[in-house]
């Protein structure tokens, strides 16, 4: 392909106080192409996107639009010049209608001209149709599913007549079928001549849909806009991390004879779980697979005592128990939970590494009058932080300033330090780069080998297969069946889908209540 790129950036540098985030990056985007932008967390992807979309001004370097030099003074400026973006975080206004969300940018030109909603709804229709979105443009966005919100954002970007559309982790919260639909749409956009930039951690998806790739490593190009032809996964990984991926293959472990650590029989909860039966043995990793919103995290929190169990029996180490609060679960029963929402529920971002790693053991270490010194906590916590190779300038460092991988390590370390015998791990590798992910997998296996019972919640099938001994399949707040892990991807994937679709006779693909 030798046609002129729509957009080209050359030798882009971007310095923040104390950090050189981009050290001379090149990228060129061509029409009718889906361009992968890869790199580990902290490699500079987000910064590059923000430079291209006018959020940041580059410290040095030039950008060309249709061959002419250009610069974007603000996001509005970039939008006006045809650069659209769907950010990783949701940027919709839940109480505003779909149409208004799509056209807010156009409204922003005037402060006092009354909004004509009928017109707005009419104008929104074509863009929704283009994405095969069958929703009333007057619907408030808050009533949509996550996947549809994503599509509304894309519609919004398209409505701005974007010739370049950047999608930052668009599939992060989508199920596989939703992802497939998204890809169909992206391909069509590509065929219509749009230049798409696709950012993802999921290399399978990148290989499936992208035709060109730029990889960043440590703020510099590991490769610049080369064709995807003949590039395989290993090469991508090598470019991203500078070496090949440590193969972390599944291995069969026999835990059948181990005693049960946590058992659920016919459990129902206030949140709507019915008849949940599940058992996790010592040293065993049990996977809990299911799509988003089927009640997995909710089950985990019910086990931890945050929501009431209304029926059935919960056993810890063979004894039936009533767990009234999370504190009870942790301190009396030795249960632990690593949340999928690391920033919201897992860690206290504004507090130090030491404070975060020590929370569950404070009570245990307290002396007279509840006194507690940093020294004592440090003594207990440091071995685990060292073991997990947490990279931090000091224990006093604010956790919010660390990378996602290090944050995840800390949220694991705190449970190691607490010495729990049962650990629920909820979507452990969301937002974590490949290197750390492999390391985490290794760590979870090691934990299990040392006797911790683990319940792994994940919607990442390869991860499930790499780790779990057995996989329980959940759908609609019930356990639909259980699949032993044989290590064979296709086989397991099919069996899991059978369990899910077996229960999905009368439900729509998007798993949401349709409007009457």
């Amino acid at each position: 392909m030798t046609q002129t790129p729509i957009f080209r950036a050359q030798s882009i540098e971007k310095a923040f106080p104390g950090v050189l985030a981009l050290k001379g990056v090149d990228i060129s985007l061509h029409p009718g192409s889906i361009h992968a932008l890869l790199g580990e967390n902290g490699a500079g992807k987000s910064t590059l996107i923000k430079v291209i979309t006018g959020v940041h001004q580059p410290t040095a370097g030039t950008m060309y639009l249709d061959g002419a030099e250009t610069r974007f003074t603000s996001p509005r400026d970039a939008i006006a010049k045809g650069i659209g973006v769907v950010h990783q975080e949701r940027n919709l206004f839940p109480r505003f209608s779909v149409a208004e969300n799509i056209f807010l940018e156009q409204l922003a030109t005037s402060y006092l001209k009354p909004v004509n909603y009928a017109q707005l709804n009419r104008d929104a229709r074509p863009w929704l149709d283009a994405l095969e979105l069958d929703i009333d443009p007057a619907t408030p966005v808050s009533e949509l599913s996550v996947a549809r919100m994503q599509l509304v954002e894309i519609a919004k970007a398209l409505s701005l007549k974007s010739r370049v559309l950047l999608l930052d982790e668009p599939t992060a919260s989508l199920t596989s079928s939703e992802t497939d639909r998204l890809f169909t749409i992206l391909r069509r956009l590509r065929d219509d001549g749009t230049s798409l930039v696709f950012v993802s951690h999921k290399l399978e998806e990148v290989q499936e849909i992208c035709d060109r790739v730029t990889v960043l490593r440590d703020g510099a190009n590991a490769c610049d806009s080369r064709s995807m032809d003949g590039v395989d996964r290993d090469q991508l990984v090598q470019m991203m991390i500078g070496r090949s991926e440590g193969a972390a293959a599944w291995r069969h472990r026999d835990t059948a004879s181990h005693p049960e650590v946590l058992g659920l029989t016919g459990v129902s909860t206030v949140l709507g779980h019915r008849d949940i039966t599940l058992s996790v043995r010592k040293g065993e990793i049990v996977g809990l697979y299911g799509l988003i919103g089927v009640g997995r995290t909710e089950l985990a929190k019910s086990i931890m005592g945050q929501f009431a169990v209304t029926g059935g029996e919960v056993r810890v180490n063979g004894t039936a128990v009533q767990i009234g609060s999370v504190a009870e679960a942790i301190h009396r029963h030795g249960l632990g939970y690593i949340s999928e929402d690391r920033k919201g529920e897992g860690l206290i971002l504004q507090h130090s590494v030491l404070a975060n790693a020590g929370v569950p053991i404070w009570r245990k270490l307290a002396g007279a009058l509840g006194s507690l010194s940093d020294g004592r906590v440090q003594q207990v916590v440091t071995p685990f932080l060292n073991k997990l190779e947490v990279k931090t300038p000091s224990l006093a460092q604010t956790v919010g300033n660390l990378s996602g991988g290090n944050q995840q390590k800390i949220s694991v370390a705190k449970w190691l330090a607490a010495g729990v015998s049962f650990l629920i791990v909820d979507e452990p590798s969301v937002g974590i780069d490949i290197k750390t992910k492999a390391y985490l997998h290794e760590l979870l296996r090691e934990l299990a080998d040392n006797g911790t019972a683990i319940l792994l919640i994940s919607s990442d099938m390869p991860e499930m297969i790499a780790l779990a001994d057995r996989i329980a399949v959940m759908d609609d707040y019930r356990i639909r069946g259980e699949v032993p892990n044989t290590g064979v991807y296709d086989d397991i994937s099919r069996k899991i889908m059978n369990h899910i679709h077996g229960s999905e006779v009368d439900r729509t693909e998007f798993a949401e209540a349709s409007n009457p």
Binding site: V55, L92, R95, L104, E105, K113, V115
Partner: protein, 320 residues
């Protein structure tokens, strides 16, 4: 059924129900409650209080607080009265001057908040002190008496039946606000910024301009309220606005406003004002021990807010 269920989820539904129940109850105990003169008094109270509540509501909409609403209202009130007494300005000019003071004071709040990045709570706490201090510095706590007859007669004029003329500005403002928050880009921007300022900025909305505009509107509304109070009291009291704070928050919150921002309802706020006014009056009507008035008011606020909360939690069970 579906229609009713939807209705019950609207913000104004709960307050409206509470208002109707309160009116029916009070009327059944005291026949004079709905007498013409009583309605007139009630409307007068509502006219001013609604503006005070709106002044706070617009700031709640952008997810901030404005502790200086009362101070701005007081400053505008004494500017209005002072301009007429000391400078001898005709009432309309004095009105423009007072409203200008209000807008200016509001804009100062907004500008300070935006350029310093310090929380609105802290900034308006400081400006509360400044505006109130200027008020006291100018008046030395002495009221202005030189209110022209035209203003006095406006304050006591009757529009029709039991409806005083003073409610006219409030009605106009209510409709304009409703229209602004529903239909005008500036209103939508205010809600967007309150809902998620980061996303608003990415959508090309100028957060700074929007925040400053919201504060200017808040200042304007507080100033109108201040001027109306002057017309009603027929003196320029420096203490006008001193006790607006609780009411200014109570009414929007009873009306279902979310303190985090992004969601307010003009109509529900108006109903919140009505509820508070009715309660205050009922306490007097039933000759309730004056010492207990505060308690009942506090308890009612808590109850109204708690009910609103329950309704929000179980939106579908509320259908009746």
């Amino acid at each position: 059924m579906l229609q009713i269920s939807r209705l019950s989820r609207a913000d104004w539904f709960g307050p409206l129900l509470a208002t109707i129940i309160a009116i029916v109850l009070i009327q059944s105990f005291s026949a004079t409650f709905l007498s013409a003169y009583n309605i007139e008094i009630l409307l007068l109270a509502i006219a001013v209080n609604a503006l005070v509540a709106y002044a706070q509501m617009i700031i709640i909409a952008i997810g901030q607080m404005n502790l200086s609403v009362g101070a701005i209202g007081g400053l505008a009130a004494i500017s209005f009265a002072g301009a007429m007494e000391v400078w001898g300005l005709p009432a309309p000019l004095a009105l423009v001057f007072a409203l200008f003071i209000g807008v200016l004071a509001g804009m100062v709040n907004g500008i300070l908040i935006r350029i310093t990045g310090i929380s609105a709570f802290v900034i308006t706490l400081a400006t509360l002190s400044i505006y109130k201090g200027i008020n006291l510095g100018i008046t030395e706590a002495q009221p202005f008496y030189g209110i022209p007859e035209s203003v006095k007669s406006f304050g006591s004029a009757i529009l029709v039946g039991p409806i005083p003329l003073l409610v006219a500005p409030t009605i106009v403002v209510t409709l304009l606000l409703w229209f602004m928050l529903r239909r005008l880009p500036i209103g939508r921007f205010i809600l967007a910024v309150g809902s998620n300022d980061h996303a608003a900025a990415l959508s090309g909305i100028s957060v700074s301009k929007t925040v400053i505009a919201a504060h200017a509107i808040s200042g304007l509304l507080a100033a109108i309220a201040g001027v109306l109070v002057v017309a009603r009291l027929q003196i320029g009291q420096p203490s006008i606005g001193d006790d607006w704070l609780i009411l200014s928050f109570a009414a929007p919150v009873i009306g279902g406003a979310i303190l985090a921002g992004g969601h307010v309802s003009t109509m529900a706020t108006m109903l919140g004002v009505v509820i508070v006014a009715i309660i205050t009056q009922a306490l007097v009507l039933f000759s309730i021990d004056p010492f207990l008035v505060q308690v009942v008011l506090g308890a009612m606020i808590l109850a109204a807010v708690g009910l609103n909360r329950l309704r929000a939690r179980q939106p579908l069970k509320g259908s009746m």
